[in-house]
Amino acid sequence: MKNKTTRFLITSLVAVALLCVCVFSFFGIHMGNQSARTINQVGTLYMSSMSQQISSHFESLIDVQMSQLKTLASTIPSDSVHSDPALQEELIAQAKARDFAYLGFYGNDGTLEMLYGSQVKVTDPQPFLSSLQEGQQKVAIGTNDLGEKVALLGWPSPHPPTREHNCAALVVGLPIEYVSDNLALEENSDRAYSYIIRKDGSFVIRTADAYRNSYFERVASEYEDVNGMTPEEYIQALSDTMAQGTDYSNEFTMHGERYHLYCTRLPYSEWYLITFMPYGTMDSVVRSFSQEWGTLTILSGAIILTALMLVFYKYFGLTRQQLREVEEARQAAEAARKDAEHANRAKSEFLSNMSHDIRTPMNAIVGMTAIATANMDNAEQVKNCLRKITLSSKHLLGLINDVLDMSKIESGKMTLNMDQVSLREVVEGIVSICQPQVKAKRQHFDVFIHDISTENVICDSVRLNQVLLNLLSNAIKFTPDGGEIHVALYEEDSPKGDGYVRIHIEVQDTGIGMSEEFKKHIFDSFAREDSQRVHRTEGTGLGMSITKYIVVDAMGGAIDMDSRQGQGTTFTVTLDLEKAQVMEEDMVLPNWNMLVVDDDRQLCESTVSALASIGITAEWTLDGESAVDMAVKRHRRGDEYQIILLDWKLPDMDGIATARRIRRELGDQVPILLISAYDWGEIEDEARAAGITGFISKPLFKSTLFNSLRQFAGLPESEAKGRPQEHHRDLTGRHILLAEDNELNWEIANELLSEKGLLLDWAENGQSCVEMFQQSAVGYYDAVLMDVRMPIMGGYEATQVIRTLERPDHDLPIIAMTADAFAEDVKRALDCGMNAHVAKPIDVDEVMRLLSKYIK
């Protein structure tokens, strides 16, 4: 299409340009011709008038002389004889008086009898004589004895010739210069000049440069071109015209110059006046005009052509741009189409993968259920089946959760539930979740905490867990048995200000890594490395996509990846998190001396600095051997370490062996704690036997160290060691209305919640609940705990009624408390206007957490 348009444009441009050149050439040539014709016409006109002028000048010149000659002739009496000496005297005297140079009688026999002046010979006597004999006055040329040319005028004799009277005419002569000078035949100011020639072309009077005897000879040798005729043709044409006695006009080229010529017959003679004028001056005016014309024509042609070119160029550019735009649009459309196709294909693949992935655990569930049904009596078998069913269900649930997350992300509905989060709890939780898998694959797992000073931050703990679990489970999944997996946490100042802290979480493995190609798509939805090696690996291919969304889009962080195929992968998550405003426990321990033994230098340094911050002076070393040496040296000085921290995995001599050596050397006084990222259940007995006092599990946060060590300072063990510490508000004295139809349940709830300082009132059903609330003072009740299934009026209806009451406190917190714990029950409770839902049996901590959350 592009080429076609371009070709059309170029073709039409060339065509128009050619047309332009043709039209202007035509005009130029036409005008040139026109001007040539004009010059010709003007020339002819001018020449003819000039020739006429010369001709009439010649006539008047001859007339003057003829009238003198007539007077002279009239002195001759009619009966006289030429030989009469008196007459001759008389004639001579009169002729001399009239300045004639020659005088003589011209006899009928052609002899010229001179009366005075030297003998003259008539050059062309025949036509002269015959004209005279016919009684015509005539002019002719003769030559004197010196060879000079003489113009002869003849006056015919009035008498018929007789024997003694044989005279044809009285002839007088004048020097030829008299004629030629008077006629001014030489080149004048117009550079025009003339010759007088005879019919045969011989010169009568010629100008200096014409040295030949005949004009025709001159023509033949000098003329180059006569208006398209050869010189010979021209001579012929000129001769023919002279024979007819008419005028002739033409132009010719001589010595590279163009001339006009004009030929006319002279009176009294057989002569022809031929006048020449070079184009030169006259031509120059017309020529300059015509040149101007030509220049103008070419110029205007050039201007029009240029304008055309410009227009075409512009148009060409526009067309090209349009084409380019069209092309771009086409490419964009193409790209969009490809994207759509790709997305479509990915979704189709995803669906087929999903159906496969869903079918696998479903098959297990269905199959195991069938086996269990068939073996109802075999408790062991049923248990085994149930275990497998549980595993498959969990897997299935994970898949479905991923898909739900993805659909939330795609519809933009994923929101974060920001709350106070303890990084220590998050990492500890993840480590404990991953431990069984790590153990099953016999992978080397370690977790490093580098100088984390802010353990409590504001974040969505569920999503943060999800991110870390996804990264870690990928690391475990794609790292072969015996490989290494490291998790590390770093902290630095956040660019967002003092209220924030920047946390780097690094998950590193020595697994199969990713291909370059796959790296580009790792964060795409539905992506999964599709090659033989990972064919067995299950998953939705949504994990990384969700992870990226949570980290980057929802939490405003960054996720970096470094992966080499066959060497391993490192993911680094960077998050700027708000510091939690909690009263950090005042973590100070006695100024002990401690020894930290770990093969990782960074971990040692980080641990020592964490210990320093809680008031402990610690030394560190990288292996068991030097640890024993250091401990023994101190022992001998009597300056014992108060506590020794030993890593379980050490090169050469492991933690247990080292502990054994230390015990042998130092005895049982010094507590030795074993650090491990693994579940120590299996090694506990061996460790205890070797003299290990206790265990600290990685990650080694400051609080981990503090809580583990405080027992040795005689401080009570922290509650946080047990269940996660809840920061409940003190709700002592708050009034709670509890709707519950069963007395026993009411008593249990009352017992448990009263212990927390709450004051409870009992409503036996929904109706009485509503009434009690209506009758209470505004703001008396701080919350309602509502059973759902009650006689007379259920919990859902009661809630709806309370919400529609015209009281300022009709929006008080209402929490459903029911034995139903299905998702739809929860949803229904919320739909009815309740704030939250707890399932029976009553979990006091959960109820207190919700009450703290909702009570204003």
């Binding site: 139809d741 069963n742 007395e743 026993l744 349940n745 299934r789 049996p841």
Partner: protein
């Protein structure tokens, strides 16, 4: 007979309930009160009268009480019956079995508590 033995006899989870209620005295108090709870009688009466909705509520209450007291065996059977009666479902084949199971489990639980009560009292 100790409270633990009582729970073992009825198929309950003593550890769980003591973890929640935190006091053996409290558990004892509520366990003994269970004997006076009218929900079971209400269930039987409603079923006899054909009032399935009331029967559902009664079963549900039993389920809730059992959950609170950690009576796992009776909790399981009452929960199954609750689901069978939920939303006014028409009687399904096997419902009689469910009712029979609740009756049996209730009797077992009641017997265990009575035995404990006598032991404690005697």
């Amino acid at each position: 007979m100790t409270l633990q033995e009582c729970y073992a006899a009825m198929g309950g989870n003593y550890d769980e309930v003591i973890g929640r209620l935190r006091s053996e005295k409290l558990v004892q108090k509520f366990v003994l009160k269970f004997l006076n709870d009218g929900s079971y009688q209400l269930l039987l009466d409603s079923l006899a009268a054909g009032d399935r909705e009331e029967a559902f509520r009664a079963a549900h209450t039993i389920k809730g009480v059992c959950a609170n007291l950690g009576f796992d065996v009776l909790l399981a059977s009452s929960e199954a019956l609750t689901e069978a009666l939920r939303d006014g479902r028409p009687p399904q084949p096997g419902e009689a079995d469910l009712i029979a199971r609740v009756e049996a489990d209730y009797a077992r639980t009641r017997q265990a508590i009575q035995a404990y009560q006598e032991g404690a009292g005697g």
